[in-house]
Every structure is written in C-alpha cells, then in structure tokens.
C-alpha cells in the first residue's frame, strides 16, 4: 500500500497557500508536516482528507485492493478537536462512530482497553481531562481499520505524558503496517519519520 502525492497545491479564498508538495509513503512509514503557523499545514491535511479541493496535483492510494480503492476509504481523519459529544458517554460516542465507518476492527471495549481508559466507558465524555479525551479520540481510530491516519495537530493541548502515550499508539500503528501523516510543531517521538517542512 502506498500513498502518493504529486505536485499538490492548495488555496484558500483564491490565495495559494502551498504549492508543489510531493511525497510518497509506504506501509509502516510516517510523514511529519512541520512549519510555523499559517504555513498551510492544516490546509494540506484537509486537502489530503478530501475536505478541501486540491488546486492542482493528485493524491492516489495504490495497492489498497478492494477494501481501500481510494484515499477517502483508506483514511481516518483526526482534527484538532475530538469529534465527540460531551453529553454522551464515552461508549455511546465510540459506538456511534464505529457504526458509521464500515467493517469493525476492534470492539469498543477493546479499543478503550488499548488506550487504557476502559473505566471511563460509562462517564460522559465531557467529564474527561484533555489528555483522556485525546486518547479516546485515538481509540476511535482503532474501531474500524483504516491504514492511513491523518492527524492534524494531534498533540495540541497535551502534556508530556499524554504526548508520549500518543507517540506509543502511533508507533504501534506503524508497526502494524499502517501509515501516518501528522501535522505538528513539536517532535512527536517518531524517529525514522520523513519530514515535510512547509515554508512560512
């Protein structure tokens, strides 16, 4: 499985934010998108996710077989916010996303075990701390298997411990042959990752 991005450019409101971005990512590889605020990290992530149209260039997902014929079906997107409802319990939130994203990979309980938060299952999501919320958001990615994780600012608002936990989950996903594209301005603890430096 390969994610191939060629001469991609993106614009917002008619203004070109970035241009000429090319990279290729194989199984087990990660790409860190770095750069100052306003460099277009988020725009790039959203273009890859299909939330914004690309001005020029192509994004292909190769070798996904029948299960993952295109980019959209192969990716999990995690934005700066967690996509969970504060009023619903953790379990209700996770069960909802699992039912929407296609075939199951992990049971809801097992996914909560993976992020070590099984005991919060019946608490409203709003009661959790920032780090716990982020880990539950990661647990969502385990519910349905998608090889490509698109993580936009995954460490925003996290302390050192939670960041380390996050890096651990990311390394495990890579070890399973997954791919990660993450935008960040902090080192994530992924040693052998490619880096894409966006100009300011």
């Amino acid at each position: 499985m390969r994610l191939v991005v060629e001469t991609l450019s993106g614009e917002r409101g008619g203004e070109t934010i970035f241009a000429g971005v090319s990279f290729a990512l194989g199984a087990g590889e990660a790409l860190l998108v770095t750069g100052p605020n306003g460099a277009g990290k988020t725009t790039l992530m959203r273009v890859i996710a299909g939330l914004l149209p690309a001005a020029t260039g192509t994004i292909r997902f190769e070798g996904g077989g029948e299960a993952f014929p295109d980019v959209a079906s192969a990716l999990h997107f995690l934005g700066p916010v967690n996509a969970m409802k504060a009023a619903l319990t953790v379990r209700e939130n996770l069960e909802f996303w699992q039912s929407l994203a296609g075939p199951r990979h992990f049971q809801v309980c097992d996914a909560m075990d993976l992020v070590d938060l099984r005991r919060t299952a019946d608490l409203p999501f709003g009661y959790l701390s920032t780090g716990q919320k982020r880990r539950i958001a990661i647990a969502r990615l385990y519910l349905n298997y998608r090889p490509l994780w698109l993580l936009d600012e995954p460490t925003s608002g996290l302390d050192a411990d939670s960041t380390a936990a996050l890096a651990h989950f990311m390394r495990e996903h890579l070890g399973d042959g997954g791919m990660i594209v993450a935008s960040t301005h902090l080192p994530l603890g992924l040693d052998d990752a490619q880096t894409l430096e966006m100009g300011g």
């Binding site: 299909g50 990716l75 997107f77 967690n82 929407l100």
Partner: protein, 221 residues
Amino acid sequence: MIALFLRDVKLGLRAGGGALVGILFFLAVIAVVPFGVGPDLNLLARIGPAILWIGALLAGLLGLDRLFQADREDGALDVLLVHAPGFNLALAVLVKCLAHWTAAILPLVVASPLLGLFMNMTPQGIGATALTLLVGTPAIAFIGAVGAAVAVALPRGGLLVSVVILPLVIPVLIFGVSAAYAAVNDPDPFLPPFLILAALTLFFAVIGPAAAALALHHGSD
C-alpha cells in the same frame, strides 16, 4: 444511519438540548396572541389554525441553526464528511433532519391540540390542524437544513438561517393553513390542499437534504 438518528434524538432531548425550549417558545407565542388580539373567543377560534401554524413554524426554526454547527464545532462534521464514500452525505442530512424533527418539532405537534383548546377551536378544527402540522412540519426541517448548511460557518448564523428560510416555507404555510381551514369551513374541500402539503413535504425531503449536502461539501474549510 439508525445510529446517527438515535444519537441526534438523544442529544436533542438530553440536558442542554433545545427540545424543551422549542415547546416553551411555542406555548409562549400562542399565549401572547390573545393579549394582542383580545380575548374574543369567536375571533380566536377563527384565527386558531393560522396561529398554531405560525407558532409551530417559528418554534421549528429555533434550533435549526445548530443542526450542523454543533457538529462542526466539535469536529464531528469533518469526520462525517471524510466517511462520505459508502456513507451518503445527503442521506445523513435527511436522517439528521428527521432526528431534529422528532426531538424538537414532533412535541409541538403533540402539544398543538391542547393549545387548540386555548384557542377555543372546534374538535374537528383541532384534529385537522394537528394532522396538517404532522404532515407539513417535516418540510420545515428539510428546507431549514439548507439554510443551516449554508450558514454553518457563520458565528451568528441563527438569525440569518431564519431570514433565509422563512420565505421558502411560505408554500408549506399556505397549504397547511388552507387544509386546516377547509376541514372546518364546509364547502371547501380538505383533501386537495392536504395532498399538496404532503407532496411538498416529500418533495423537500428529496431536494432539501441533497442541496444541504452540496452546501456542506463546498462550505467546509
């Protein structure tokens, strides 16, 4: 899809949801009318169906601006859009509209016969009005979804949604009220306006979510 429906209904009814406020608004609007036009029971009976329809319309518009905005703020809308292949966005919008209708507007329809009593309406008029509301109000949610989708990125889109939507729901109001009146005033036929009302709802059930899905797809930034 059932999960989406259940989640939205649950969120609407749970603490902080707008369902209770919608009913209260409906009650308050209906209660204010007699103060304005005077307590003449004959007059109230005559304008009753129209007042109930206008009240339901305004109350139905109340929570609409949050239909997609809440999901946008917590990132759920992005994830919904990403999962769009194999997950038809227009269908999702339709389901969200139905959930909004169930949680916020259906209670108004259920409460309308009681308010009909306040308006001194005849049992037949009450029944006809409740029936037209039941059939007609989903159209408000479907049209409202378009306004909500267009205004999703605006910080204070609530008022704008109402302004954009109100002219579009006028046909629904016309046929709803005329069907309700036709049930009371004998020579007028009840069925034709009622069937047109049902047709409008079905028509907007297709057009509304499709347009809203289009707007959401292009409006994401």
